[in-house]
Amino acid sequence: MRHLSKTAARLFRRFWRGLREWCGDAAYETYLRSNGKQASPTCTLTPAEFYVEQLNRRYSKPNRCC
């Protein structure tokens, strides 16, 4: 029973993490962890700056199809 609940909790954590990554909720955390960011720790963007910059980049090329 305990094993089952552990498995369920692990699956739920994975699902939650996947959902956050899919919808962009975890984008800032991913950015902070990225190699590129760690190579230049002095110029870290704030969450608000990162959010706007990320959107400007994403919506400047085709990202939604017919």
Partner: protein, 695 residues
């Protein structure tokens, strides 16, 4: 033993699929259960994925997991982000799944359920999935370069320029035609118009929340937004029931077209975080929810398919759009089987986020299979309603008349019994004033979805809520494609203009932003207006035009893929991309020729212009209508010219490619492959992106 077991299992899956297909193809009973469609489609997808995609991955592309992907080498946390394959599958699917696989099969149902279903499944397995998979692979090997850049490097400079122009052209036609689908869905419907209009202030609210209150907290904002959207779906009924408010939100086609044009301009010129992005978040959640609900609804309700396998309209006299089954069934289905637009996504964000090369099979090939399944579900939803009702909703007034007994008798005369009272009752049940002449696919799909949903939850009592939920779902994500497409189109116009005058190319220079937004909106807005005032129903001319341009772009992508395979020394397997390319060239060139030159005025643009000109010359057009008719003549000639230019561009590209292939094969030219150099991965073999997470 394990191998034998595997062979037996796959044999069973293949036989089950073949049996279900035989049932669909040869059943001539009263009606057919939709479960057969699901079984046939799923079994075919499983076999295609297990065998054909594995063959393409191993023999044709030789995917190499020891090679570092761009997301590993160039990881910057912004564009290049190593992403778990399931998450990236979701990203990729959300990006490629648009209104096309819903609207195309719904329109193609006028030929009966069989031709569309066959092409949706076979076309996806052998053409659409292959295109997405191969282009994704090519882009991964080139640091995520776009299809235009790859065409320029691997085929020719001119090839790249043609690909860029083709993208701009397809974008213009696409935005116009999806705008027309929304207009026809909202026309004279205060409930639907109110619901959709309210999504704008909701998106603005979300935009401000995400920008200033909780930056980047997409999930919590989306939950709030989806709750508000569901509330306005219900509140729309109160608006429709109030005579004064209903008048405010009851708009004509032309008024709606101008409202959509103004919206497109605003979405393109306003900061992206304010309107466009929050709408996209709302749309993504509702789209995912509605598609999975539709799949579950079909499995639970198992509706009967009432449309015959083939209708009398395979001869080209269809009321929804004119043209024979070949080539118009393929042109109309478009995205559900193969979409050129997908090559932009497969060479855009996805290759920059993929963890390893082998994931390209699951993401590129697999996501397209799922999109094809969405198309099959749309076909089932459209064919589950009585054919008479389907034709009443989708036929323009010029074919069946405006409404009532005369129209019902015309449709009954085709062999699809219908009574005018049936349409009145149905409109009343779904909370609409009328359902006659609502061409475009969205209302008939919404009726089909609402019938499936209400059979699962709520019964007839909730039919009107489900209908307007379905309309909101379709219109919301169509407008998301429209605003995102307008913005990308604006960047393309600025990029082109910047070559002649540098300041125009600066994306933050406000006059440049406003002028380029106005140019792109004017381009698609013109075609949209033309479609709205077209007496034959704009879908008849615009959807085939969209299908042609989309399939031509797919041909461009397959030309690039074939060239790259040739340069990789995979001449033996080149048929994998060459055959679908040849097929697309044949259907698009035939359709283009017929749309321009066919003598039937409902098919040929020039023939229709000629008929109208003859009517003016004979004095059969009233004086006050002459100017309008002359505008129609101009529009028909413009459509003919656009079709001709698109076809000519692709012929030039194919000629360039043929010359290039000949030079390579005859060793007159050195075959240079523009791949990034091999770098070995540093990630362990079982690394799945989990290091970026919390376990």
């Amino acid at each position: 033993m394990k191998r034998l077991f595997s062979i037996v299992i796959w044999l069973v899956v293949a036989l089950l699929g073949a049996g279900a297909f035989a049932k669909i193809a040869f059943d001539r009973g009263e009606s057919l259960n939709a479960t057969w469609f699901v079984v046939a489609a799923v079994c075919c997808y499983l076999v295609a994925y297990r065998l054909y995609s594995a063959f393409v991955a191993a023999k044709v592309l030789a995917l190499d997991d020891t090679r570092a992907t761009p997301s590993e080498r160039l990881d910057d946390g912004r564009d290049f982000v190593p992403t778990n394959k399931w998450v990236l599958f979701g990203h990729h699917f959300a990006a490629i799944a648009g209104p096309g696989p819903l609207v195309g099969p719904t329109l193609a149902a006028q030929f009966g359920y069989l031709p569309g279903t066959l092409w949706l499944i076979a076309g996806a397995a052998f053409a659409g999935c292959v295109q997405d998979f191969v282009i994704l692979f090519c882009s991964i090997r080139r640091d995520g370069k776009s299809i235009g850049q790859m065409a320029r490097e691997e085929v020719s400079e001119r090839g790249g320029f043609i690909a860029q122009l083709a993208v701009l052209a397809i974008m213009t036609i696409l935005l116009a035609v999806i705008g027309l689908v929304v207009v026809n869905a909202l026309k004279s419907s205060p409930w639907a118009t109110f619901t959709l209009a309210m999504t704008i202030p909701i998106a603005l609210l979300l935009g401000l929340y995400l920008r200033f209150v909780r930056p980047g907290r997409v999930l919590e904002a989306s939950v709030m937004g989806v709750a508000l959207v569901l509330f306005v779906v219900v509140a729309g009924q109160w608006v429709a029931d109030s005579p004064s408010w209903a008048r405010v939100f009851t708009l004509s086609g032309v008024a709606l077209a101008f409202a959509i044009i103004a919206y497109g301009f605003a979405a393109s010129a306003l900061p992206v975080w304010l309107l466009l992005a929050p709408r996209d978040y709302l749309s993504a959640f509702i789209k995912a929810g509605a598609i999975f609900s539709l799949a579950a609804g079909i499995l639970i309700v198992r509706p009967q398919v009432l449309m015959p396998p083939l209708t009398r309209f395979i001869d080209g006299t269809g009321p929804v759009f004119a043209g024979k089954i070949f080539p118009f069934c393929f042109i109309t289905i478009a995205c559900g089987a193969i979409s050129g637009f997908h090559s932009l996504i497969s060479s855009g964000t996805t290759p920059k986020m993929i963890l390893r090369e082998s994931h390209a099979r699951f993401i590129g090939y697999g996501a397209m299979l799922l999109e094809s399944f969405v198309g099959v579900m749309a076909m089932v939803a459209a064919c589950a309603m009585p054919p008479g009702v389907y034709f009443a909703i989708n036929s323009p007034p010029s074919v069946v008349g405006n409404a009532g007994d005369a129209a019902a008798s015309t449709i009954s005369g085709w062999g699809y019994p219908l009574q005018a009272q049936t349409m009145t009752d149905l409109a009343h049940k779904v909370g609409e004033i009328t359902l006659w002449n609502r061409a475009g696919g969205a209302p008939s799909l919404a009726v089909g979805m609402a019938q499936i949903f209400s059979s699962t939850i709520g019964g007839e009592r909730l039919l009107s809520i489900w209908y307007h939920f379905a309309i909101m779902f379709e219109a919301l994500f169509i407008l998301t494609v429209l605003d995102a497409g307008t913005r990308v189109g604006r960047f393309m116009v600025q990029d082109l203009g910047g070559r002649f005058w540098k300041p125009f190319g600066r994306t933050r220079w406000m006059p440049g932003v406003l002028i380029s937004s106005a140019i792109i909106v004017a381009l698609w807005g013109y075609f949209l207006y033309q479609g709205v005032v077209d007496p034959l129903g704009g879908i008849n001319s615009l959807w085939p035009l969209f299908g042609i341009s989309n399939q031509l772009l797919a041909a461009v992508a397959l030309v690039v893929a074939t060239t790259i395979l040739m340069k990789m020394g995979k001449l033996r397997w080149i048929w994998v991309t060459l055959l679908p390319m040849a097929w697309l060239v044949i259907i698009t060139m035939t359709a283009s020729y017929q749309k321009i030159f066919d003598a039937n005025p409902r098919i040929g643009f020039l023939a229709y212009a000629k008929v109208l000109a003859a009517q003016i010359a004979a004095g059969r057009i009233p004086a006050e209508k002459v100017a309008e008719t002359q505008r129609l003549i101009f529009n028909q000639r413009l459509d003919a010219a656009v079709t001709g230019v698109l076809a000519a561009m692709i012929l030039v590209l194919i000629f360039e490619a043929l010359v290039h292939w000949y030079s390579i094969l005859s060793h007159r030219k050195e075959s240079v492959l523009h791949e990034s150099p091999y770098v070995a991965t540093r990630w362990a073999a079982d690394y799945s992106g989990a290091a970026h997470g919390d376990d």
